[in-house]
Point group: C2
Chain length 276, copies 2
DNA sequence: ATGCCTTACGTTATACGTAATTATT
DNA sequence: AATAATTACGTATAACGTAAGGCAT
């Protein structure tokens, strides 16, 4: 049975005449006439009362319209269910707490050829945990462990803060620095610092020249002699060599550990993302 | 979307290969291949894992099979609902307690051109009442009133018992008879007397020659001089004139009143059958 | 006269089958 | 060799649109 004919029957019920219905259906009247006749034949039921110049629904016809509406809803639900399932099956929905994590994540998965596409969202820690628990996200990456009985949380990677200086800079030869070494100096700073924001906020004795735009910031760095921050992640992410020396900070807070968390029943996802 | 393709998908899931599925579907393999590809396109979803010589369902494919089964059940239910409704709308289901009632009923409705077809069942009084209450039958005709709060029971017609005798018979000139007049005489009797059986059983002083077959009984009547029973209904029903004189019995039990009963909420049916 | 339904007929599009191709067991 | 899926191509079925006819308001 052709479900389109049911839609056409419904259109007739809504429009009142075959002509108008045919118009809204972008179909010729003769076609609609024929289709309704074949629908009657297929159902083996009289749907219409045909007078010379007037066609109307029988009681059976009216009932059929009602039932057809239900059936078409079921068809629509089927359609949506299948597509939703397919989307769920072919994409991994993940959440991250900082933009840099996306770099690291895609780097690690680049040679793995995941069967799913990755869809990442940048959210606050609390939103991430909520989304994970509600199963809207299948995994999240955060800078704190998630303490929940249903959640499996394990260390994923570490991000180490560096000071990036031109080779001529006085700090360029040092093995390592402490944040205290930044007192009374001027630095270039990209805004949107993500997880490093609190650390920067604590550096009250340092002057920052802030630039939001990514490309403008890159230009500033190559043109200026002022130090800037970098991390192991940003160093990997950079394509062009920046000619700078990167010196790690030895302070504990200059090292952030990122945790990968999944629901315990989805342990397979964790394995998939971490093994190899 | 073509529901047949869903059936074909299900057939594939059941058979395991496109070839076998095509065979059970009475379809060529190439057609099935193409159909499954267009189904994928229409759904916008990957249903199959295609290897060189092997095709199998993806997880999405398996899920789609499950959902398709549901949808096809809904389609089947739709189909059956429509047909059941149509049957109910286009046929009046009635019950009668005696074969003669069918004659009378159809006689009365002959010139009315009912929109419904009549479907009659011959049942015992008790079965009739039960069928009416359970709404399996929409009306019943019985020889007793139905005493039930939900039921509307009204007189429909009367059947009067006659003695049918040849013109030369001694009773032929009488205006009326009593059952006592049948003592010590011999009569022709058709079996299957229906509601008149108890009355006949009470006539212990009368001899009966019983004939079951209808046509044979008619022949007997025209050939023999023996009296037989008739009623106003059988007189109407007979096409050929039987050349007999019909004399009514004056006894109270020789008159039966038939009642037409419907559920009170179906009063319209009673009106339909009795008016005009 | 205009609107509505139907019939008739030619055309297009969709679905199918046969045959051939390739790959796997 | 045999089985399985795909590709290619010609054919048949069905759905559609245009045109014409009939009937009603």
């Amino acid at each position: 049975m052709n479900l389109q004919y049911l839609e056409q029957l419904i259109a007739f019920e809504e429009e009142g005449t075959l002509s108008k219905a045919a118009e809204t259906l972008l179909l010729s009247q003769p076609s609609l006439t024929r289709n309704m006749k074949t629908l009657e034949d297929e159902l083996g039921v009289q749907l219409f009362l045909r007078k010379k110049n007037k066609i109307s629904l029988t009681e059976t016809g009216k009932y059929t319209v009602k039932e057809a509406r239900k059936l078409l809803v079921h068809e629509q639900v089927f359609f949506e269910n299948v597509q939703r399932f397919s989307l769920q099956a072919t994409t991994l929905f993940g959440g991250i707490c900082a933009p840099g994590v996306e770099w690291e994540l895609k780097n690690r998965l680049a040679d793995k050829k995941l069967p799913q596409t990755l869809k990442l969202e940048l959210l606050s820690h609390q939103d991430l945990v909520e989304a994970l628990l509600s199963q809207r996200l299948q995994f999240i990456v955060t800078d704190q462990k998630v303490t929940d009985d249903q959640v499996l949380s394990s260390g994923f990677f570490k991000e180490q803060l560096y000071l990036a200086v031109p080779p001529a800079h006085p700090y360029a030869l040092k093995e390592e620095l402490t944040l205290a070494d930044l007192a009374n100096i001027t630095m270039l700073l990209r805004s949107d610092l993500g997880i490093w924001q609190p650390l920067v906020d604590g550096l009250t004795d340092t002057k920052f020249i802030v630039q939001k735009d990514w490309e403008a910031f890159e230009e500033l760095i190559s043109a200026s002699a002022l130090p800037s921050f970098s991390t192991n992640i940003t160093q990997q992410a950079r394509e062009t060599d920046d000619q700078r020396i990167h010196i790690p900070f030895s302070d504990a807070i200059a090292t952030k550990t990122f945790y990968l968390s999944v629901l315990k029943k989805n342990r397979a996802i964790l394995t998939q993302l971490t093994t190899n």
